[in-house]
């Protein structure tokens, strides 16, 4: 065997090993969600469930109310997607296509907010919402999306917009188009892939958020999937196989969204990474 073939085999076996390690926990949630209480506590662990106990899901969805939690999570996600899609693309267009005084100053301000860990502002922001008597509602989780939609999203869309040739805008200006027409008719259709990436990241981001929902939502009938799962887990009487079914319910939508939009995910991530 020559050097190159041996190198190939080494590369592939390492990749298979790593991929196995990365995917295994996801498989483990799935297998644990299909066992009963006795099986999940058995040692050595059962690697492949024999009787697939789908009843676990029925129990978590209906008796533990996960169906309601899923609905609640979407009550947050849908308006957030609208707000992010609208205001982050507006800001990105302003920063990438229009010259105006102090532009660099405002843009560096946007970048700096990416570098600020959200925990620094969590408590005072919470106190602000308390003064407005709006805690224990979805508004603190929704409204910020309509104000820029996240610095990172603005950054990503701007990077993408910079790759589109300027001639397009200029010819539209010659034809007498205003900036809003250029934004909505010329540029937006061209940035669809990047916009889809932003919306997919946002979906996963809201679905995966825990701290924000934990702080702002108190009533159980307002709970999201994350809060429902956390409560189920901290309840000492909850059996492990039901916790795992709840965990799987939280994993599936994020994974499905990723698999559908895989291309947009990887392109979107690459856009932010290379053209810093």
């Amino acid at each position: 065997m020559n050097y190159r073939v041996r190198g190939r085999i080494a590369v592939y076996s390492l990749l298979v090993l790593f991929a196995f390690l990365f995917l295994f926990p996801i498989y483990w949630i799935l297998r644990s969600s299909l066992l009963d209480f006795g099986e999940i506590m058995s040692y050595p662990p059962i690697l492949f469930p024999s009787a697939l106990r789908v009843e676990n899901y029925d129990e978590v969805l209906n008796r533990v109310d996960f169906l309601q939690y899923i609905l609640n999570t979407f009550i947050i996600i849908v308006p957030v997607l609208v707000g992010v899609g609208l205001t982050s693309s507006l800001a990105a267009f302003g920063f990438a296509r229009i010259e105006f005084p102090l532009k660099d100053f405002w843009f560096s301000l946007v970048i700096m907010t990416i570098l600020l860990p959200s925990i620094v502002t969590l408590v005072p922001t919470y106190m602000g919402w308390t003064e407005l008597h709006l805690t224990n509602s979805y508004l603190p989780l929704i409204l910020p999306a309509f104000f820029g939609g996240g610095a990172f999203n603005i950054f990503l869309l701007r990077q993408f917009l910079l790759t589109i040739p300027r001639d397009l805008d200029e010819s539209a200006v010659m034809d007498g188009a205003g900036f809003f027409t250029i934004y909505s008719r010329v540029i937006m259709p061209l940035v669809r892939p990047a916009l889809v990436a932003v919306l997919l990241f946002t979906f996963v981001g809201v679905w995966n958020d825990f701290l924000g929902q934990l702080v702002y939502l108190n009533d159980q009938d307002k709970y999201t999937v994350a809060l429902g799962l956390s409560t189920l887990r901290s309840n000492l009487t909850s059996p492990m196989h039901l916790i795992m079914a709840g965990t799987m319910i939280m994993v599936v939508p994020a994974v499905v969204v990723f698999l559908i939009g895989q291309r947009y995910f990887t392109e979107g991530i690459a856009t932010t990474g290379i053209k810093g």
Binding site: G7, R8, L15, F18, A19, F22, L23, P25, I26, W28, I29, S32, Y43, P45, L90, F93, G94, I98, E99, F100, W106, L109, T113, L115, L116, P117, S118, I119, V120, T121, L122, V123, P124, T125, M127, F146, F147, G148, A151, D175, G178, F179, V204, W207, L211, A226, L229, R233, I243, M244, T247, A254, V255, F258, T266, I269, A270, G273, I274, G276
Partner: protein, 308 residues
């Protein structure tokens, strides 16, 4: 045919442009003022008070800060745990993800499949990931100790003991860092093939190629990933929230700073004190980010003076 515009209409075009520019960015600017600047100032003010939600605010000067630096045992503990986790996870993520990206880059047709496999854990909610890892790390029933047992290795406590909890959480952090692999891969595609071949012609092996071509050319991407992983490590909350009955890990050994702020504010109702803690974090993050950027000048190379 379009006619040339006269200077007068240029002026009005200019004015229109400035208005439009500010119009487009105004929601984002308002957002920064409302949800970042205002909270920062409010937090600074509250940090000088002893607000506990129930009792009225009282100005207490620097008392919160004095308590943080002179008396608070948990502050020191939390700072140590956070620094350990932050440095450990940044180094582990950069090294492991760079290595995997290198492997992937020479993988050929299966690249897309493996890339998806490595990215998948990144979309798994942190809460779900933490729950299953804690279960897999379980001392008595966990699959990890079972597999180690097959190789004759004794049971390890993992997240169950103060000494091993943070290394275990770093392990979980690497598992969820597939986005870093994707960014590295994209950067590696921009490394010119000719340069690598030139090293080969000079008789250099893979290490020489890595050391003299790939790493220097990738330095801006490496820097970007370090910054991202650093900020991310400071927001770690969920992974310690799920450890044990009250969170924070065994004997508060994984009392991450974000969790400390949360506990002071929402469990102990010490809003003023939590704000003071947040201001201290703000200063620490500022100093470290500044240092990272300053240090980067010596090892990050931008091609053709391309700006970072």
């Amino acid at each position: 045919m379009t006619t040339l515009k006269k200077p007068a209409s240029y002026r009005s075009y200019n004015r229109r442009r400035i208005w439009a520019g500010y119009g487009f960015i105004s929601p984002a600017i308002l957002g920064i003022l409302l949800f970042t600047m205002a909270p920062l100032l409010y937090s600074l003010y509250l940090s000088f008070t002893n607000w506990t939600v129930l009792a009225p605010k009282k100005w207490i000067g620097l008392a919160n800060y004095r308590k943080i630096f002179m008396e608070d045992y948990f502050f020191v503990k939390s700072l140590k745990a956070t620094a350990y986790y932050s440095i450990g996870s940044v180094v582990a993520i950069i090294v492991v993800c760079f290595f995997i990206a290198l492997l992937l880059n020479s993988a050929g047709r299966a690249k897309a499949f493996f890339r998806a496999a490595f990215y998948l854990p990144t979309v798994v909610p942190v809460l779900a990931g933490a729950i299953v890892w804690v279960w897999m790390f379980n001392v008595d029933f966990g699959i990890v100790n079972y597999v180690l047992g097959l190789f004759g290795i004794d049971k390890q406590p993992w997240v169950g003991a103060p000494d091993s909890v943070i290394p275990s959480l770093i392990f979980i952090a690497v598992w969820g860092a597939g986005n870093v692999i994707v960014i590295f891969m994209a950067g590696m595609q921009d490394v010119p093939k000719q340069l690598l071949e030139a090293v080969e012609i000079d008789g250099g092996g893979w290490w020489r190629k890595l050391r003299s071509v790939t790493i220097p050319l990738m330095s801006p991407v490496i820097f970007y990933n370090i910054i991202l992983a650093f900020i991310n490590s400071l927001t770690a909350f969920t992974q310690t929230y799920v450890l044990g009955r009250n969170g924070g890990g065994p004997n508060d050994s994984a009392l991450f700073y974000a969790f400390l702020i949360y506990r002071e504010a929402f469990k102990n109702q010490n809003m003023g004190y939590a704000c003071a803690l947040a201001m201290v974090l703000f200063v620490i993050v500022g100093v470290f980010t500044y240092l990272l950027f300053r240090l980067s000048a010596s090892w990050v190379h931008y091609e053709g003076g391309r700006k970072g």
